[in-house]
Amino acid sequence: MINEIISMNGYGTYVWSAFSFTLISFTTLYFVTKLQLLKEQKRFASKFGSLSVEKAKAARSQIINREILSNTSNI
């Protein structure tokens, strides 16, 4: 059974390489996108941390900024 799945009637090399290429592409794109997201979140947190109290208060008044900070704290 397993040998049949692996060999695919002699087409195993083609079938498995096509599926492997697809899954490797998915994994690479996922991690590259995830890294870019984490980088921007960290940059936001660091910039926010360096703001004065008044500016930080003004920035916090925006819902989206609070959301980004809450997501960043989960990293």
């Binding site: 002699g10 087409y11 697809t22 910039k47």
Partner: protein, 236 residues
């Protein structure tokens, strides 16, 4: 009309959605792979090589769909003067490009056992390669231009020019003699030339690929929004 879709309002949803989409994607992909690699029957002519269809066809469909969306969003950003359209288009492009590459590479792998060649300058394959070049230009333009107005104009021009290629890809198998067979699945007709035992895994794999492009879109869109907010913090 588009007020409720403003980034500030939808970020609460787009920032939380990826984990649920990822979970759903893994489940659907697992079912799809089991169907495609183990449960679905082999073809009477192509034998097990037909299984490559389950990654090649959905990838091609989605790359065409995403590029059409890029063109629509580009027109939308001009008509409605809404920059969020451009941001959505920018976030969709990377997954569209990857699906285009997957369609080309898996098509090449499928071509060897079925046609006896890795590559042919066939109308369908060549027009798909041209689509990949348009995707490449589109993504490159976002990197090259720094002026926001200019980059939106250039990328919109590329998307609108490139969308001319979409009907050429779709109908290339009918207009010219190509190695590709005519479409087996016709959305507007009940006369589909593919058995349900193959249609079901194809549908599940397409659903998995759609979920993956949604996942990448959401992550990329969130990244772009945070980039904008980073610039906003600089201006404070």
């Amino acid at each position: 009309m588009f007020k409720s879709f403003e980034p500030n309002k939808i970020f609460a949803i787009t920032s939380k959605a990826p984990k649920y989409v990822l979970f759903l994607f893994i489940i659907v992909l697992t079912i799809g792979l089991t169907e495609a690699l183990i449960l679905s029957p082999e073809d009477y002519k192509q034998s097990d090589a037909v299984r490559i269809m389950y990654v090649h066809v959905p990838a091609a469909w989605i790359s065409l769909g995403i590029f059409s969306s890029l063109a629509l969003l580009s027109v939308g950003s001009f008509v409605f003067k809404n920059k969020n359209f451009a941001l959505i288009a920018k976030s969709l492009a990377p997954s569209g490009f990857i699906f285009n590459i997957i369609a080309l590479v898996t098509g090449s792998i499928w071509g060897k056992p079925t046609w006896g060649t890795w590559w042919a300058w066939d109308a369908r394959i060549t027009s798909m390669l041209i689509l990949a070049l348009f995707y490449g230009m589109y993504l490159l333009a976002w990197r090259i231009y720094e002026n926001k107005e200019q980059v939106i104009k250039v990328t919109s021009f590329i998307a609108i020019l490139g969308v001319i290629n979409i009907p050429i890809i779709k109908f290339s198998v009918d207009w010219w003699n190509t190695l590709h067979q005519p479409a087996s699945i016709k959305i507007l007709s009940t006369n589909t030339a593919i058995h349900s035992s193959m249609l079901v895994p194809l549908g599940i794999m397409t659903a998995a690929f759609v979920l993956f492009s949604l996942l990448i879109f959401l992550m990329k869109y969130n990244t772009e929004l945070i980039k904008l907010k980073n610039k906003g913090l600089d201006r404070l």
